[in-house]
């Protein structure tokens, strides 16, 4: 049997093939290895050699790595306290390091598809933020977005989105989405105004921000370090951090001017000026630095900043000191936010149930399609048309996913609801097509035309009913509106016309 396909059917096949390509090209189906999602730049020998986020590790010590299990089993048996040689091979380079533990890397298996899952499926955090007691104008909001993006980048977060959003009532918000692991103290990091002030007595010497008095901030090696923890009198531990800060000329001169007026105090530990340099963050006192005699009236651009973190155990003290240091470095580099902020919504989702969740949804979809095909077969007793209906429905879903992969649209839970909505209306339309074409009046062409009048009518009513959701509530349901609109449009303009042609073919036979 020779089958000649019509233009509309070819069009659907073309879209289907292109969608499959968009979903699967260049993914874990064709590549092996594990993907680096984050690499800690500080004190990291692999980073220094050039290993970066996005690289794919294919082997360690010539042992092939295909899964996360391979990766962790090789590394867990390897380091036993002594310095050993490790060979790390990526798709384009080989790295050799000597160390007593493997440098800090976050890795994941290469995704099997190009589909990007939203936070509620893949894990991550989302915050919606507004200024406290103040309505922000568009320009103010954009400034806020820039500073925040800058601050999160300086903190070391890369896979993130910071955008201004507004809602139907005209409120402006800042939306932050961070994929993957949620950083500790996220709340503090995004809502803290970060107003850093260095004062001697009542006089401000400099404030934070590279647009202000700061030239640069030391971040690694000898320029930033944590001292080993010490025990306090109450049994808990504390650890001191220190890092260098480079001031701009102006701030340095101000420092000279203020210190020149101070007197010198002689103490058993050495000679210091009468007043210390006090550091404040958002009005809260951080620490006080004694200024040595030699700096009196000097134009000095380098200052050493210190502070401490405490904890119940040594490890906790070191961790907290590290976190405090990173926070402080970040606000010193990026400056303060112009407004006090309020987090109106903060969601942190763990990726741990994500896979099961996706599987459940796939199962639900599969069961639904099975039920539909069963009903259709019982009703029409026409296996060719019933099979075509199921094929067309599955194609529709694949094309929606293909478009989502192509435009890098994040599939979130509302988006999946949208796909379900599409399947539902899609099947409704296909049933209309089957019934209209099987009537005994007029020519087949006219019957198809009539069917499409009904389908287009239903299409436009659904289309317009979705429009308000594009903007309502800071765009939280935009995913639903967009996916459904893509879905019903694909259906009405690509797959359903193809189904009409298939029905024509079946009738002619």
């Amino acid at each position: 049997m020779k089958i000649k396909l019509t233009f509309k059917i070819w069009l659907m096949i073309f879209f289907l093939a292109a969608s499959l390509l968009a979903i699967f090209a260049g993914t874990g189906l064709t590549k092996s290895g594990i993907l680096i999602t984050n690499i800690e730049p500080e004190n990291n020998s692999l980073f220094d050699l050039g290993l970066r986020q996005g690289d794919i590790i294919i082997s360690i010590d010539d042992q092939k790595i295909e899964t996360l299990k391979d990766y962790s089993s090789i590394l867990s048996n390897k380091y036993i306290g002594q310095e050993v040689k490790t060979t790390v091979k990526t798709t384009n380079k080989e790295y050799i390091i000597f160390s007593d533990k493997f440098p800090e890397l976050s890795v994941m298996e290469i995704p099997k598809t190009n589909l990007q899952l939203g936070l509620d499926l893949a894990g991550g955090s989302r915050a919606i933020i507004k200024a406290e007691n103040k309505t922000l104008s568009k320009t103010e909001l954009n400034d806020l977005v820039d500073i925040t993006a800058n601050r999160l980048n300086a903190f070391g977060l890369t896979d993130l989105k910071v955008i201004p959003v507004s809602d139907l009532a005209g409120n402006n918000f800042m939306l932050i989405e961070i994929a993957g692991a949620t950083p500790k103290d996220l709340k503090k990091l995004i809502s803290e105004q970060g107003k850093f002030e260095a004062k001697i007595g009542n006089e401000t010497v400099f404030i934070g921000g590279q647009d202000e008095g700061i030239a640069s901030v030391g971040r690694s090696g000898q320029e930033a370090y944590i001292e080993s923890p010490k025990q306090s009198s109450d049994g808990s531990y504390y650890s001191t951090f220190r890092f260098s800060l480079y001031l701009k000329e102006e701030a340095a001169r101000k420092h000279a001017e203020v210190t020149s007026k101070l007197e010198v105090n002689q103490t058993p530990q050495g000679n210091y000026l009468s007043k210390p340099l006090d550091l404040y963050l958002d009005g809260g006192f951080i620490s006080s630095l004694k200024i040595s005699e030699g700096l009196k009236g000097q134009v000095t651009t380098q200052i050493s900043i210190s502070g401490s973190g405490s904890g119940a155990t040594k490890e906790e003290a070191v961790e907290n000191a590290k976190a405090e240091m990173k926070q402080l470095q970040t606000v010193l580099m990026t400056g303060s936010l112009p407004y006090k902020l309020e987090i109106v919504k903060l969601d942190t989702i763990s990726p741990s149930l994500g896979e099961e969740f996706t599987n459940t949804i796939l199962l639900a979809g599969l069961v639904a399609i099975l039920v539909v095909s069963l009903i259709i077969f019982i009703r029409y007793r026409n296996w060719k048309a019933s099979l075509a209906l199921v094929l067309v429905t599955v194609s529709e879903v694949i094309i929606i996913l293909g478009i989502a992969a192509l435009i890098r649209w994040n599939l979130d839970l509302p988006g999946i609801a949208g796909i379900l909505a599409t399947i539902g209306t899609g099947i409704d339309d296909l049933i209309i097509l089957m019934d209209e074409t099987s009537q005994k009046v007029l020519s087949l062409k006219q019957r198809l035309k009539r069917a499409f009048t009904i389908i287009l009518g239903a299409y436009f009513t659904t289309f317009v009913s979705l429009l308000p959701l594009m903007w309502a509530g800071a765009g939280l349901l935009k995913g639903f509106a967009i996916t459904t609109i893509i879905g019903i449009s694909v259906g009405v303009f690509i797959t359903r016309p193809a189904f009409g042609d298939m029905l024509k073919k079946f009738q002619k036979e």
């Binding site: 991550g124 309020e342 942190t348 741990s352 399609i369 209309i432 009913s465 959701l469 939280l476």
Partner: protein, 290 residues
Amino acid sequence: MEKRNWHDRNYKKLLLIPIILILSSIIYLFMFNVQNGDFVYKDISLTGGTSITVFEKTNIEQLELNLSNQLPDLTIREIYELTTKEQKAFTVETTADSDVAKQAIQEYLGIELIEGDNVNIISTGSSFSEGFYKQLLIAILIAFIFMALVIFILFKTAIPSLAVIISAFADIIMTLVTFNLLGMKMSTAGIVAFIMLIGYSVDTDVLLTTRMIKRKEGTINQRIIGSMKTGMTMTLTSLFAFLAALFVVQSFSAALTQIFTVLVIGLGYDLLNTWVTNVSILKWYAEAKK
């Protein structure tokens, strides 16, 4: 003159069923509003509050007993594997602040909860949620008005268009009443489902109306029966597909469960409102025009 069958004699009386249901629904919702200050019970996605999902096993009743005096408006849900019924996690919802809720659960379980690791935390401020809810209501209203406009443009005649709109409206309020009677709490997802319902309920009405007023072949009754065959297949297929999906997602996703539940109820009422409400009005209209 053709012989009058049962439907020909009684279709006007049949219209009483939806009229009574619509009126009592409106009265019920009005009373509900007086009593509760709103047309629905809202969950924390619309009132503001905290939802914490913990990926640990615990005895739900014990937990509820322990937390109920610490956290206001407490709801606890279990998440379990579909086939083995093995508990995977549980979700605590409360109007309390996220830090307070997290602390309380942490103290009860005796383990540290780390955001993005063994716990999901979704927290929403109450003023933001209120604004969000108001906008979603406006969105439904606009969606409904847009739909009505398209219907008028499509059919260009007042009574058939109104019949479609009344049927869609009836679907929505009857579903809403059932939703309340079942004691369910409306979430964002539920509102999305109501918007989906507008689309679904209009589908079959558009089919029916097109066949009734734009076609000339056959008698009115033949056209009604033809539409009914098609329309019933459409609605029943969707209904059973959603029921099947509902069974699969039941414990796993509260959001999808609510969407499917609303759609199943709504499609059920759509059978009544398309094939009784809409058909009767259209038939009356067609008979009167003769």
